[in-house]
Subunit: 386 residues, 2 copies
C-alpha cells in the first residue's frame, strides 16, 4: 500500500509530494513520525528468525503499530496473523485480509458483541479472549454453530487487568465454553504485563516464574480433563525469550519489537547484555524559537509524544549532552550541555519516543525513510478505531 | 455540519446510526468522547457575555477543540475568529471559512512558510506571531506587498517557549517588521502559560503582575514611537478575568473554557470561589472485566486520556468514592471505596479528563449528547493537521 492508493493520512498530507525525492527527509513538515525502513526490516527478520529457531509461532500485536501494511509484512515474514486490542482494530485488519486475528481484550457490550459476530462471519480464524461465564453465554448466543467463534481463556499472570485468577475458575470456564456449539475452545492467553519492562534479564525471569507456574498448572489441569489447550498465546517484547524457555507457550504476541522505544531499549532482552532490536520509529521536530538564552523551543510537545514514561531521547540532530523536555501541549525544549543555544531556527532533531504504542497512536501515518529519502507513507489505518 | 455531510470520523463510525435515537447515549460503543450540548452552550454564552461586558474581543483557541463546528459557533456568538497552534489547523479553519485566524506559534521552516504564504492569499485577516528578526525577513520574502501578512510580536510573559524577552529587542523587531511592505505590524501577543492553572484567584493575580508590567512597558515604548499595538492578544481560561482588570489586552485567547477539565475545574476563575464554566467534555468507558476482587477493568487507558495531569475523575456511572486509574495503554481500573466490585460487566462510566486539549486530540469526533440522546457527531477535523 502506498500513499497513492489511499486518501493521504492527515499528518502526511503536506509531505506526500516528497515521496521518492532524494534528500526529502530534510524537507519534512514537522512534527512527523518516521519509520526507519532498514531498521524496521532488521527487526522484522530478527524476530522471525528467533521464533523459527525457538519453534514458536508469532502473532505480533497490532496495538503497537496499528498499520495493515506492517501487519502484512509480519505475516509475509511468517507470522500467524496479528493480535489487536479493540474490535475496531480487528475490523480494520480483517478488511485488509490479515489472517489469524486475535482480539486480546474481552468483548462484553451488546454493540460490540454484534460487531464481533458480524466480523466472525467474514474472518478466517478470528479469536477473542474471555474471563467471565456470563460473557461466554452472551458471546455464544450471538454466534452461530455453523461458524463457531474461537475463544481463549485469559489467565491472570501479572497484568491485573483482565484474566481469570483461580485455577478452578479457569477449568469451570473451559467447561462452560465447551458446552456451547457456537464457541470453539482454542486454548489460553497469558500476558505478564508487569514483567515486560524489568531491565535486567535474570530479575525479569525471577519475577515471572511463579506466575508461569500457575499457567502451567492450568494447562495440566485442562489436559487431565481431555481439554488440552491447543494454543497458549502470550508473552511480549520484554519476555519473549524467557517465555520460550518455559515451554508452555505455543505463540508469542510481542508488538513493540518492530519499532522499540526508550523503555525497551533499556531492557536486556535475551540475556546477552546488549540491545536485540533497533529503534525504528522516531519523532522528527523542528526548532521554532531561539529567543531565550540557554535553550531552544521545538514544535513537538505533549500532543506529539506519549507522556508519563519520561522525556523523549534525542537520537540525532543535536550536539552531545542536549536533552529534550516537554513545554506544554504544542512545544518541546532542547537544553544544551554548555548552556548556549546550539541549534538554529528550523534545525530538525529526531527523538526516540518514551513509549512507542501511545506515541504512534497520536499520528495518522508513518513517514518511511531510508537514509536521507522519504521512500513511502504508510497510513496508521487502525488509529481511532475502537 | 452533521455526520451525514462528512465521511464519518473513525471513532464515530460504529455510533453514527444512533444519532437522534432516544436513549442512544446508553448504547454508544466505547471509549467515546462526549460533548454535553447544554453545558457547551452555557459555556459559549457565558464567555461571550463576559467579553461583551468587559469590553474585550474574544479569539478562542482552536487548539483545545480542533473542530470547525465549534469554531463556527464561537464566531456566531461574537468571537473575532479563532486562534490555532499549527499551520495545519489554520488551513482547516480557513477552509471552513472561519474568519480572523491567528496562529499562535512561530512559522520558521521553508515548507511551512510556503504553506503560510499560500494560506494568506485566500484567508481574510490571517495573523502569525514572530519573535526573531531573521524569521521576520524570511516571512517578508515569501509574502506579497499586495496582501501583507499580519504579524504580532510574541512577548515573553511566563510561557518560556516562544517570545521576545527584552523590551529593546521587542522594539527593534517592531521596526524591522515595519520596514517590510509585505508584512503588517498588528500588535503583540502575550501568553502567561505558567499562571493559567494556579488554583487561587488572588495568588494567580500576584504571580502574573510583574510579567504584565513588562507587557505594559513594551506597549508604552511602542506607543511613544508611534507604533502603538492595535491588538494585544493573550490570556487564557485561567487568567481571562485578571487580564481584563489590567487594561492592556484588547482580546482574549481562552480555549479550555468551552469544555473544561480537572485542572481548570480546580481553579477559582473569577474570584468568586466557585466554578464559572461547566465540564462539557467527558470520556465514556465500559467495564470489560470483573474477574479480580475489589476492582473492575475498563476499556479506556493511556490511549483514551491525556496523561501526566493526574487520574481521570469519574463524573457519573459509579458509586460515590469510586476512583479511576490507568492500567496500561488500553485499560483503566475502577476501584471502589468499599472494596467490592460494585459495577457489572458492560456498565458505563463517564469521566472528566485531566487535561482537555491532549485528550480531545486523541479522538476523531465529539459524540454530542443532550440528556440521554446522541444528537449529533461533530468531526474533530483539525486533529492530525500539523
Amino acid at each position: 500500500m502506498t500513499i497513492t492508493e489511499l486518501r493521504p493520512s492527515l499528518d502526511a498530507r503536506p509531505n506526500a509530494a516528497l515521496v521518492g525525492q532524494p534528500g526529502s527527509r530534510a524537507k519534512l513538515s514537522t512534527p512527523a513520525l518516521l519509520l526507519d525502513l532498514p531498521a524496521f526490516e532488521r527487526n522484522l527478520a530478527d524476530m522471525a528468525t528467533w521464533a523459527r529457531q525457538a519453534g514458536l509461532e508469532l502473532r505480533p500485536h497490532a496495538k503497537t503499530h496499528k498499520c495493515t501494511e506492517i501487519a502484512r509484512r509480519q505475516v509475509a515474514a511468517g507470522a500467524l496473523g496479528n493480535c489487536c486490542a479493540t474490535i475496531g482494530e480487528a475490523e480494520v485488519l480483517v478488511a485488509a485480509d490479515i489472517p489469524g486475528v486475535h482480539l486480546t481484550s474481552t468483548v462484553v457490550t451488546a454493540d460490540k458483541i454484534a460487531r464481533l459476530a458480524a466480523l466472525n462471519e467474514r474472518a478466517q480464524g478470528l479469536m477473542v479472549i474471555v474471563d467471565d461465564g456470563e460473557n461466554v453465554d452472551d458471546l455464544a448466543a450471538a454466534m452461530s454453530p455453523e461458524r463457531p467463534l474461537g475463544v481463549l481463556i485469559d489467565i491472570e499472570v501479572g497484568s491485573e487487568r483482565t484474566g481469570v485468577v483461580g485455577l478452578d475458575d479457569a477449568v469451570a470456564l473451559a467447561k462452560r465454553i465447551a458446552g456451547h456449539p457456537s464457541l470453539s475452545f482454542k486454548g489460553l492467553q497469558a500476558y505478564d504485563g508487569s514483567a515486560q519492562a524489568t531491565t535486567d534479564y535474570h530479575a525479569r525471569r525471577q519475577e515471572a516464574d511463579d506466575r508461569m507456574a500457575h499457567l502451567k498448572a492450568v494447562c495440566d489441569a485442562l489436559t487431565d480433563l481431555g481439554m488440552a489447550p491447543g494454543i497458549v498465546s502470550g508473552g511480549g517484547t520484554g519476555t519473549h525469550d524467557l517465555d520460550r524457555a518455559r515451554g508452555v507457550f505455543t505463540e508469542i504476541q510481542a508488538g513493540s519489537y518492530i519499532v522499540m522505544d526508550t523503555i525497551y531499549n533499556a531492557c536486556d532482552l535475551r540475556g546477552a547484555g546488549a540491545g536485540t532490536f533497533e529503534t525504528s520509529v522516531f519523532v522528527r521536530t523542528s526548532v521554532i524559537s531561539r529567543s531565550h538564552p540557554g535553550y531552544v523551543t521545538t514544535d513537538a510537545g505533549l500532543k506529539a509524544f506519549s507522556v508519563g514514561f519520561g522525556d523523549p531521547v534525542i537520537a540525532s540532530g543535536a550536539p552531545d549532552g542536549a536533552t529534550y523536555s516537554f513545554m506544554g501541549d504544542e512545544h518541546g525544549r532542547i537544553t544544551f550541555a554548555n548552556g548556549a543555544d546550539a541549534l538554529g531556527l528550523g534545525a530538525a532533531v529526531e527523538c526516540i519516543a518514551p513509549h512507542c504504542d501511545p506515541t504512534i497512536s497520536l499520528y495518522d501515518a508513518y513517514h518511511v525513510v531510508d537514509g536521507d529519502t522519504l521512500v513511502d507513507i504508510w497510513p496508521i489505518d487502525g488509529r481511532g478505531h475502537w
